[in-house]
Every structure is written in C-alpha cells, then in structure tokens.
C-alpha cells in the first residue's frame, strides 16, 4: 500500500513541520469524506428522497430516447428513457451493499483466520496459509462466474461471492501484521503479567491489527465495487434493479458512446470518484494513525 519513498517523504515533512501536522488529515481527506457521505446517504435514504422511479420510462412523445441531461433529467436518461440520476443512486444501493458485505466478510473471516495463524503459528499457520494460497491461486473471476452462474443472481449471492474472494487477501495482511506485532515485547510483557491467549489477542493484538486492516477495508471495498462492475459486464451481476455496473453497461455500446456518451460516462465518473475517495480516505487514515514509529 505504501511504498518506502512516499512514507519517508511523509516523515521528513512531518519532522519539518513539527508533530502537529502529523495529526492532521488534510483537506483532501475531508473532500473525500464529504463525497463519500453524499454518496452513502443518497444511497441509504434514496426511497425517501425525491428521486424519480429508476424503472419508469419517461418517454416524451415525438422524441426518441436517450435524452441528454436537462433540468428534468439532471443526468439524462438511457435508451429506455429511464432517469439516470435515479438509476445511479439506486445502483449505489446495490454496489455499496456488495462492497460493504464483501469487505465485512473478508475482515471477519479473513481477519480471524489471519490473526489465529499469525499468533499461534505452527499447525494453525500451516493449514490457514494453505487455505489462503488455494483461494489466491484460484482465478477469482472463474470462481465468481461459477457461483453466480449456478445460483440465483441475488444481491446476497453476489455479496457473499465477493466476500469469499476477499477473505484470502485480507487474511494474509492480518496474518502478516499479527506476526509483526506478536513478536513485539509488549505482547511478551502482557504474557509475563499473566494474560491469557484470548486476552492477548483481543486486548493487545486486535487493536493494533485493526488499524492497517481498517485502512485496507476502505481499499477492499473499492475493489469489491469495481468487481461488481466487472461481473455486470459479464451479465452476472444482481438480476433485479440497477447497479453501477449494469447502468454503465447500458451505455457501453460503441454507438451509444458516440451518440449518447452521458449514459456510461456519468455513472463511470460517480464510480471513479467513489473508488478514488475510498482509496484516498483509507490511505490518509492509515498514515494518520501511524504515529508509533514516527513519533519516537
């Protein structure tokens, strides 16, 4: 996530500016946060907000859809004269749910397995690492296609599929982070004070492991949102209702891109900005909490 040069540049700057600048998230983070807030709240409260019905056809007699953006349709409409603003917002409900559930599953199962492997080592580590390797070496897309082709393409199936796929990468990072902390003296110190394994994992290791993990969660969510778009292009995304992937797909034909570029471009911009904001926020949060080494 962070390569050495960026990190050292950051530290150098932090040292130059004094300790205070280290504790600031910066304007960029807040822009990203505001954007994410808008997208998430629009998605969350969409049914109660004055959006048009995303499945209605707003055909104006005598004119052929798609309609370009106008005051009635801020984002324009697609070929079936469905309002794109409404479709993007309702699509966000699905896409973001998929992202949240996927990374949530990854954090829960991958995090648990990774911490177990990293803390107990030995057989736990061997078995769990083997499982991770199998998952990582199995082509993700093939697995996703397999599951979605065999089962009904509901929101639940898609979310769980992407969730399963995120277990191994998240778990590997959890394992590596745990190993680096399990060797630190404060863990040994906790043991010498009589703490049991469970307490050490929950009180000493988990909070330390969660920080890099939470930054990763935002990045992982971005990946899951993009992955949903990928599945949509294969016609394997959620069947009912709009998703970002499906909305983009409706405008992705070469004729549409020339004649009515807004159909694809507007949801792409929304998707792009959201993924960018997630990445940016994740990265800033990680360096914000990374006070341990630099503050010494």
């Amino acid at each position: 996530m962070s390569d050495g040069t960026i990190h050292s540049a950051e530290t150098a700057q932090a040292n130059a500016d004094g300790a205070a600048s280290k504790r600031r998230l910066g304007i960029g983070f807040w822009i990203a946060a505001v954007w994410l807030f808008i997208v998430f709240s629009a998605a969350l409260f969409a049914p109660w907000l004055p959006f048009k019905n995303p499945d209605n056809n707003f055909i104006v007699s005598g004119e052929r859809p798609p309609y370009a953006p106008s005051t009635t349709h801020l984002f324009g409409t697609d070929q079936d004269a469905r309002d794109l603003l409404a479709r993007t917002v309702f699509g966000a409900r699905v896409s973001l749910t998929v992202g949240l559930v996927a990374i949530g599953m990854g954090m829960l199962f991958g995090g648990f397995m990774g911490i177990m492997a990293g803390y107990f080592r030995g057989w736990w580590d061997r078995v769990i690492s083997f499982v991770f390797i199998i998952f990582l070496s199995f082509p993700a897309l093939v697995l996703a296609i397999l599951i979605t082709a065999l089962l009904e393409r509901s929101l639940r199936t898609i979310s769980i599929t992407l969730g399963i796929l995120s277990i191994a990468p998240v778990g590997r990072i959890a394992r590596a982070t745990t190993i680096s902390f399990a060797d630190r003296e404060f863990v040994l110190a906790a043991r010498t004070l009589g703490a049991k394994n469970g307490r050490i994992i929950v009180r000493e290791l988990l909070p330390n492991v969660l920080i890099p993990m939470s930054a990763l969660a935002l990045l992982g969510m971005a990946v899951a949102v993009v992955a949903e778009g990928g599945l949509a292009f294969l016609g394997l995304s959620v069947e009912k209702g709009p998703t970002w992937g499906k909305v983009i797909l409706t405008g992705a034909g070469s004729r549409d891109l020339q004649k009515a570029p807004w159909i694809a471009i507007i949801p792409i911009i929304v998707l792009f900005l959201t993924v960018l904001a997630l990445n940016f926020a994740g990265d800033r949060i990680r360096s914000y909490f990374d006070v341990r080494e630099t503050a010494l």
């Binding site: 003296e185 110190a189 010498t192 004070l193 009589g194 703490a195 330390n208």
Partner: protein, 356 residues
C-alpha cells in the same frame, strides 16, 4: 494467587540446580544454558553478566517459563519451594505478574502503543488481585508516584508515544511491580536508555527492591551496571557459569580471565582521550559445537595447552561463596608468569596484534 508459604527475607526464594536449556535446531542441539546452579534469597539481587549470546537472557526466560516449545529443559528450578520447571503455561500464569515479573530491554517496544498507560497498569491489578476500577486506578496512581513519574494523574490518560524513553521504562517498572511480585527480572533494563537515565532507573529498581523486599535478577552485559546494584554476580560464558561471587568479593578478587576482560572493556573516565577501547577479540563460542576444554580458551590470552583439552570445573576459592571455572585463575603462578611475559612484549590489553 499467592504461593502457599510466603518466603521471608533471607530465605532462599529461587534455587537453580544444574539448569540446562537446549534448543533443537536444524544445525543441531544449541546448548544455550548448560548447567547453571544458583540460589537467590528473598530481598537479594543477582547480576547475570555476559556478552551477547552467553545465555543470560535464555537463563532468565527459562526460569520464567517463557521459551518456545523447541526448548528442552533439564535440571530443576525451585521457586518458593516448588519445582516450577515442568509447569505448564497455565500453571505459570498464576505466578506471572503476581509472583514474578519482568522488565524488558526496550521500553519503546514493551508497552502497547494503543492502550493508555492507566489501562496498562490497572489490567494486571484487576486480573490478579481482583480489584475494582476505582481501587485499581488509585493503586496505579500510587505506583506511578513510586516510580517517580511527575504528574501521574495526567499520565494515566496518555499513550506510550507521548512519554520519553526513560519515562516509559518507569511505567514498565510500575507495571511489573503492580501485583507485588517477589522476584523481578530486569533484562538489560537500561540498554536502550541514555547514561544519565540509566543510573536513575537502576537506583529506582534498587529502591523498590528494598521497599518491597523482593529479589531482583538483573541481566546485563555491563559489569559497571551491576557493580553498585547487586548483592551477587554470576558471570556467564557460552551458557555456563564461569564465575559466581558476592559482588564485593568479585570486584576485589576476580579469578576468571573472562571476568577481567569484561571489566577491562568498560571505558574509564580517567583514561586519556583517544584511548582505544579494550575489546575481547574473537566471538562467543558456537553453542552447537562448543570447543573442547574451556569454552573461553580460544579467546583467552592466558590459555595453556591444558585449557584446550580439559574443561575446568567450578572450584571454590577460600570463600565458599566465590566459585570460578578456570585452570589458571588470576593470581595463580601460571597466570602471573604469562602476564609477565605479555608485559615484557609490551602488550596492552587493547593491543591485539601483540597476541595474534
């Protein structure tokens, strides 16, 4: 949990009999601790001195039962009358913190970076002594005062990175002392700190030892550190005890050339500037294939043929408390003869070209 019988001051608290800790590795058996016999009374302090790799940390961790499962332990470790060497981690957990605790080398690493100081001190209090939150906090405050931390109320809500290194080591000591252990291990407690803070921390440990009547095992590579802060000193080399004596006796009458070399390696303020630092040339012995005879012989400037063949046993001097393992100790005719020869060639301890 308290031990059944409280050990009174002056009674032996810890007894090691021929303690051996070996590690199975791919290269072979590493004899990290190889037959150490020691005894420590309640309220006494013991300095374990040696170079890196001499087995001093492994010795401390063997006693505490903090070794990985690859370690094979023999002999016996008696703590307050019971043999704890075979104790499982579960059994040891009752002793950890409550009866014996440890201060680590690097205070920057030994506190949880994400937990407030107050919480880190109160956790063991709640765990072992079953204190409620208010009592634990009050005790934590008292502990912080005991270890001379200014503004203890404020520290309780601070995170480790907000404190300096010396301050953090004080907090570590406060945590280690929290449950009133009878035995405190201090594994190079001052190595990561600067010199002025070092003395303060050592004084603090000594002060707490007297106040709480606990025993202290101070592990260090620096004879200077243990000189003023211990009752007895055990010098380790290659996993073995090579000299063991009450502190005063040892400094007055060093028998083992290794101890002498360690002593020489401490820079002296009275030396003129640009004096070359005295070192012990060579490296500590390979613990998988230790040399035949005396472990130190290959690096010893006073070694004679016998030293390379036969291992010297631990022999007492006129004082039965002072034991050493050397065929030709400091003061013996052979040693003096060799010393005179070395002096004649213009040898200075720091000048290795003369010997090699």
């Amino acid at each position: 949990m308290q031990t059944d019988r409280r050990i009174e001051s002056g009674e032996p608290l810890l007894e090691l009999i021929d303690l051996k800790t070996h590690f199975k590795t791919e290269r072979g058996l590493v004899r990290a601790v190889d037959g150490v016999t020691l005894s420590l009374k309640r309220g006494e302090s013991l300095g374990v001195v040696g170079e890196s790799g001499s087995g001093k940390t492994v010795l401390a961790r063997s006693i505490m039962g903090l070794l990985p499962s690859t370690a094979v332990k023999h002999g016996s470790v008696k703590f307050a009358g019971q043999d704890i060497l075979g104790f499982s981690a579960k059994q040891m957990r009752h002793l950890w913190g409550a009866e014996m605790s440890m201060v680590f080398q690097n205070p920057l690493n030994s506190l949880n970076p994400l937990m407030k100081i107050g919480k880190q001190i109160t956790e063991p209090l709640k765990l072992h002594l079953g204190m409620d939150k208010a009592t634990a906090t009050a005790t934590a405050l008292q502990l912080l005062r005991d270890v001379r931390i200014p503004e203890p109320e404020r520290r309780l809500n601070q995170l480790p990175h907000e404190l300096s290194g010396g301050m953090r080591q004080r907090v570590m000591i406060a945590i280690a002392l929290a449950c009133g252990p009878t035995l405190l291990f201090a594994d190079e407690p001052t190595t990561a700190l600067d010199v002025t803070v070092q003395a303060q921390i050592l004084d603090l440990i000594g002060e707490q030892r007297r106040d709480r009547n606990m025993s202290v095992i101070l592990v260090t590579h620096d004879l200077g550190v243990v000189a003023g802060h211990t009752d007895q000193i055990a010098v380790m080399y290659g996993g073995k005890l090579v000299e063991h004596a009450p502190t005063k006796t040892l400094f007055a009458n060093m028998k083992m050339p290794y101890t002498k070399s360690l002593m020489r390696s401490i820079p002296k303020l009275s030396d003129p500037s640009h004096t070359r630092l005295a070192t012990i040339h060579g490296r500590p012995p390979d613990l998988v294939n230790p040399p035949l005879g005396c472990n130190f012989a290959p690096r010893c400037m006073y070694a004679l043929p016998k030293c390379h063949v036969e291992e010297p046993p631990l022999t007492p001097t006129t004082d039965p408390k002072h034991v050493y393992a050397c065929w030709y100790p400091v003061g013996s005719p052979e040693f003096e003869k060799r010393d005179a020869e070395l002096q004649a060639t213009g040898y200075k301890p720091e000048d290795f070209s003369a010997v090699s």
